[in-house]
Symmetry: C2
Subunit: 232 residues, 2 copies
């Protein structure tokens, strides 16, 4: 059954967002009476029946709702400096949502290679990945923010990937029973000054293994470790 | 310093493979006397100096060699049914090499969506990823093989990703101190008969968490878990 993202599933008759409506009409060519799955991204999975199909709008009657609990007991936040190639960052967002993440925060650092980010595109990738992995919860995609703003209200466990010898590994440091934030720097890494600020804010520099990883690879590897650690 | 893959670093003067030579000449426009890094993919990192540059060939004098031990005490083998979209499989190969893997085995299963595979392309992706992550060891990319051939000489730890409730997770089952092989099926998973054959060959069906993951996502998540588990 086809899944659609429908942020508001509260009423009995709901309207699909324009993009989802277009997909249902132009791509899938669904008809009145067709059954569809509806996800609001906030834990609700619903069974719907299409009732009103106009040129650009699709209305569905909600036949039944299920509210699913959050997947993780402990939240996982990944703060990542966007890569020069947008597709690599979008790839990270897709995979992180599939593997399991609660919040993705693009960060601006001294060496970040992008000053702007198409937030709508990242959101679209995240929604597609949520549907692909049949999740009811849509991770938050935060707007691009400076490192400082990131640390304003971070959870107790704070890490940042840091390419230096002698550091404890994330695998040794991360406790799966607590909320955590991990920051991954750009190609070229965080500057010494940024690492100082991160440490000053109570973040621990951790290693992710011996090899030099691309930004998006390191971010996904860390996300995978934290998410799977909670599902042992 | 630019890195090049040069399978034979035994002699004092070595010739770069055609593709690497083209890259050095046409893309990087290197000159005689330039210093380069050379990787044979079998543990040797060498410092070279370019001496002979012809139209299509590049020769380097090997100034010094270092033989690096294998990265992992226990080998990690990933057997994966290639995806319909080749780029998704190439993406998996790139990321798996970055994160750490010893052998990637494309497998033909009943529901595998590709009957043929451009092995040379996968190899090129693996070489690029080895250079990117500055590794001296190039993982083996096996030719596409049927499930049966896979199990012929598999290590003691044998797992396969299996989308069924009640299974132990890979995270609970995998022991980082032993060689392991994990098989990931195609979209649509292994058939019951294939799962039976896998179990018959001593492979344990394991879960990778609650969410439904794409083939390439599941394969990389498993690879990441096993590789990082060895680097705690």
């Amino acid at each position: 059954m086809h899944l659609f993202h429908c942020p508001d599933l509260a009423s009995d008759a709901v309207e699909l967002p324009p993009e989802e409506a277009h997909h249902a009409l132009a791509v899938l060519r669904l008809r009145a009476g067709d059954r569809v799955g509806l996800l609001d991204g906030r834990g609700t999975k619903a069974l719907g029946e299409l009732i009103g199909l106009a040129k650009r709008s699709v209305t569905a009657r909600v036949l039944e709702r299920r509210l699913l609990p959050p997947e993780r007991a402990a939240r996982i936040q990944l703060a990542v400096a966007p890569t020069k190639q947008m597709e690599r960052f979008e790839w990270f967002v897709e995979k992180a949502v599939e593997v399991g993440v609660d919040r993705i925060i693009p960060i601006r650092t001294e060496r970040t290679e992008r000053s702007a980010l198409r937030h709508d595109r990242l959101l679209r990738v995240a929604v597609a990945a949520m549907k692909q992995s049949q999740r009811a919860w849509l991770p938050e995609i935060a707007p691009l923010m400076p490192l400082e703003a990131l640390l304003a209200d971070a959870p107790a466990q704070r890490f940042f990937g840091w390419c230096q010898p002698g550091l404890r590994s994330l695998m040794a440091a991360y406790r799966a029973d607590g909320d955590a934030l991990l920051a991954i720097g750009p190609e070229g890494d965080f500057t010494e000054a940024e690492a100082e600020r991160l440490r000053g804010a109570g973040a621990e520099g951790v290693a992710l293994g011996a090899a030099r990883l691309r930004t998006e690879t390191a971010a996904l590897a860390a996300c995978t470790w934290m998410s799977l650690s909670q599902q042992r």
